[in-house]
C-alpha cells in the first residue's frame, strides 16, 4: 500500500547501496527530482537500468554512483552524446562502468517479462545484430511449432523503480497519461516502486476507464514534487525545457564544470526547487 512521504524519506527508505535501480521515463516524465535526491544522499555501487539513460544517469555516473549501466540508447535526446557516461566508458572516469547493452525492443520486452513474472522475454530480435555477440545475456530459444529461432533476454527485475507521474488520488492510486512509455512495466517488474507526482487529487472520477493507473498496492511510496520531471516534461502540466538539454551538452563536456554545476544545482538544492524550474514552461504545456 502506497505511503505518502517526503521525497528524501521515500528515497532513503527504498534505495540502498548496491541496488539495481531503474529511474524510468521515455523522454516524457523523467524522474529527475528522485534522481537528484539519490545523488544528494550519495548512494554507491548502483546498477542503473534504463532504456534511455539521459541527463540524470549522466549525472549519477559522473558522480561515481554506478558500477554498471543496463541500457538501449545512451544519448542526450535530440542533442547528442552523454559525455559523463562516455568518460566513464572510454576513460574509466571517475570510475569504470560496466555496461550491458540491449536494443529498445529487448529492454521493453525484458521489462514486460519482469512485470509478467516470467524469467525471460522471447521476441524476434537481434537478427544479424552484433550486440548478440558482445552481450552474453542475449540468447535464443526455438519455437516448438515452427522451428524459428527467437531471441531471449532475462527479465528485468529492479530492486527499485522510480517514476514520475501526473497525479495520485489520496488512496495512493497513481495516474500516468500521455506518452506512458515503459513506466507501468518498470513499476510492476520491481520489488519496490517510488513515484513522484505533480499533485494529489481527491479521486479519479471521470477519468477514462482504460487510462493507465497503478493501484495503490503496487506502489511503495509517493512523494509530491511539482515540476519533478524537469527538464523533461509532464503532459498536461508543463513543457519540455529543450534549452536545458542543449545546455547540458556543454556542462557535461568538462569534468570541472560538471562538478561545479552539480554542486550548485543538485547538492545545494532540494526537491522544493523543482516547482520554480518549470514556472516558465507551464504556459507551453
Amino acid at each position: 500500500m502506497a505511503t505518502f512521504l517526503p521525497l528524501s524519506r521515500a528515497v532513503s527508505d527504498n534505495l540502498n547501496d548496491g541496488d539495481t535501480a531503474a529511474f524510468e521515463g521515455f523522454t516524457h516524465l523523467i524522474p529527475t527530482a528522485a534522481a537528484h535526491e539519490a545523488i544528494r544522499q550519495g548512494f554507491r555501487d548502483l546498477t542503473l537500468v534504463r532504456m534511455t539513460p539521459d541527463l540524470v544517469y549522466d549525472q549519477m555516473i559522473g558522480m561515481g554512483m554506478a558500477n554498471k549501466a543496463v541500457f538501449s540508447y545512451a544519448g542526450n535526446p535530440g542533442v547528442g552524446l552523454l559525455r559523463r557516461l562516455r568518460d566513464a566508458v572510454e576513460n574509466g572516469f571517475p570510475q569504470p562502468l560496466e555496461i550491458e547493452e540491449h536494443s529498445h525492443a529487448a529492454m521493453a520486452n525484458a521489462y514486460e517479462a519482469g512485470a509478467a513474472g516470467l524469467p525471460c522475454a522471447v521476441f524476434r530480435g537481434y537478427r544479424g545484430a552484433e550486440l548478440a555477440r558482445v552481450n552474453p545475456n542475449i540468447k535464443s530459444i526455438v519455437c516448438p511449432f515452427t522451428g524459428e529461432k527467437l531471441a531471449a533476454v532475462p527479465a528485468l527485475r529492479p530492486d527499485v523503480t522510480f517514476i514520475h507521474a501526473q497525479k495520485a488520488d489520496h488512496k495512493g492510486n497513481v495516474l500516468v497519461e500521455g506518452i506512458i512509455g515503459i513506466q507501468k512495466e518498470a513499476v510492476l517488474a520491481a520489488k519496490r516502486a517510488v513515484v513522484t507526482v505533480e499533485e494529489v487529487v481527491d479521486n479519479f472520477a471521470g477519468i477514462h476507464p482504460n487510462a493507465c493507473i497503478l493501484p495503490s498496492w503496487t506502489v511503495h511510496a509517493i512523494a509530491v514534487v511539482p515540476g519533478g520531471s524537469h527538464p523533461s516534461y509532464t503532459h498536461g502540466y508543463y513543457a519540455r525545457d529543450n534549452a536545458a538539454y542543449l545546455e547540458w551538452d556543454e556542462i557535461a563536456s568538462d569534468r570541472e564544470r560538471f562538478r561545479a554545476w552539480m554542486q550548485e544545482n543538485v547538492i545545494e538544492k532540494s526537491a522544493d526547487d523543482f516547482a520554480g524550474r518549470v514556472a516558465h514552461l507551464r504556459k507551453a504545456a
Partner: protein
C-alpha cells in the same frame, strides 16, 4: 525556383519516396523532417509512428526528441513502449523504417554503437535504440545521411543493425524475410541496392552533384547505374513547406527557453 542547400535536397528527396499509405517508423533529424514534409505535401494520410508510442501523429513543428508532447497530442493513439515494439513493429505493420547512421557500409549495414573496439571504444556512441529491430522488422528500410568519408566506410566498426550483410542473399540466409535497405538518400544522390549484389548504387545525382563529388565524400569505390538520372530540384511548394516547418520548429523551441538563456 529558389536556391536550396544539399541538406534540403536530401530531406525533400527522401520525402518524395513516401506515400500516403505508408506506415513510417520515424527517427529524429532528417527522417523526421522528410516524413513531415511528405505528410504536408503529397502524402497527407501517411501514418507516422515514433518509438515513444505515438501512432498517426501530425506535429505542427518538428520534435526535438522522439517523445515530445506534441507527438502525443496530435496522435491517433499513444501506446506503451512494449506494445509499440511488439504489436506495431514486430507485428510487421511498419512499411518503412527510417534510419540514420554514424557509419554506413555499401550493403546498408549501420553502426551507431562505437568507433573502435566494443570493449575499449575510441568513441562511445549512443547505441542502437530501436534500430536493430527496425532494420529487420520493417517491410523496407530507408537510410538518410550526409555524405562523408568518415561516415560512409568500407568496413563499419560494429554491426548495430543489419542491412544486406555481406550482400547477395545474406538476409535470406539468416532467415530475415523483410526487404531491408531499399533506398539511401544522401545530400548528393539517391542510391538503390543492386538487385543481385545488394551493393548501394547511385541511381540519381542531385542538382549540382557530380560523380566526382559523390566519390570524394564516400569511403568505398562507388558504383553508378548505367542510366544515371538527375534528381528533380525541390519545387517551390516542397521548399516552402520544409522551410516553414523548420521556422515554426525554431520559434516553438525558442519559446520554451528562459529569457537570458541560450535555446
Amino acid at each position: 525556383m529558389s536556391d536550396f542547400t544539399p541538406n534540403e535536397m536530401m530531406t525533400i528527396a527522401a520525402s518524395r519516396a513516401l506515400r500516403s499509405d505508408d506506415v513510417c517508423f520515424v527517427g529524429i533529424g532528417a527522417p523526421s523532417a522528410a516524413c513531415n514534409v511528405a505528410r504536408l505535401t503529397h502524402a497527407p494520410d501517411i501514418t507516422l509512428i515514433y518509438e515513444s508510442g505515438t501512432i498517426g501523429t501530425a506535429p505542427d513543428v518538428l520534435p526535438l526528441s522522439i517523445g515530445d508532447g506534441e507527438l502525443c497530442e496530435t496522435a491517433v493513439t499513444t501506446v506503451s513502449v512494449p506494445e509499440m515494439f511488439r504489436y506495431w513493429l514486430q507485428g510487421g505493420r511498419v512499411t518503412i523504417g527510417f534510419l540514420g547512421a554514424a557509419q554506413l557500409d555499401k550493403f546498408g549495414n549501420i553502426n551507431t554503437t562505437v568507433i573502435g573496439d566494443y570493449a575499449h571504444p575510441k568513441t562511445r556512441l549512443p547505441g542502437g535504440g530501436g534500430a536493430p529491430e527496425i532494420a529487420t522488422s520493417s517491410q523496407q528500410v530507408y537510410i538518410t545521411m550526409a555524405q562523408s568519408k568518415r561516415g560512409m566506410v568500407e568496413k563499419i566498426d560494429f554491426f548495430t543493425s543489419f542491412g544486406h550483410g555481406d550482400g547477395g542473399d545474406h538476409r535470406k540466409r539468416l532467415g530475415i524475410d523483410t526487404a531491408g535497405p531499399t533506398l539511401l538518400i544522401t545530400d548528393l544522390a539517391i542510391w538503390k541496392p543492386d538487385p543481385e549484389t545488394r551493393e548501394f548504387t547511385v541511381v540519381s545525382l542531385h542538382p549540382g552533384a557530380t560523380r566526382e563529388t559523390v566519390q570524394e565524400t564516400c569511403g568505398w569505390t562507388v558504383k553508378f547505374a548505367e542510366r544515371l538520372e538527375e534528381t528533380p530540384a525541390p519545387t517551390e511548394l516542397e521548399l516552402k513547406t520544409l522551410r516553414d516547418l523548420q521556422a515554426r520548429t525554431k520559434a516553438a523551441h525558442a519559446g520554451t527557453a528562459k529569457k537570458g538563456k541560450a535555446a
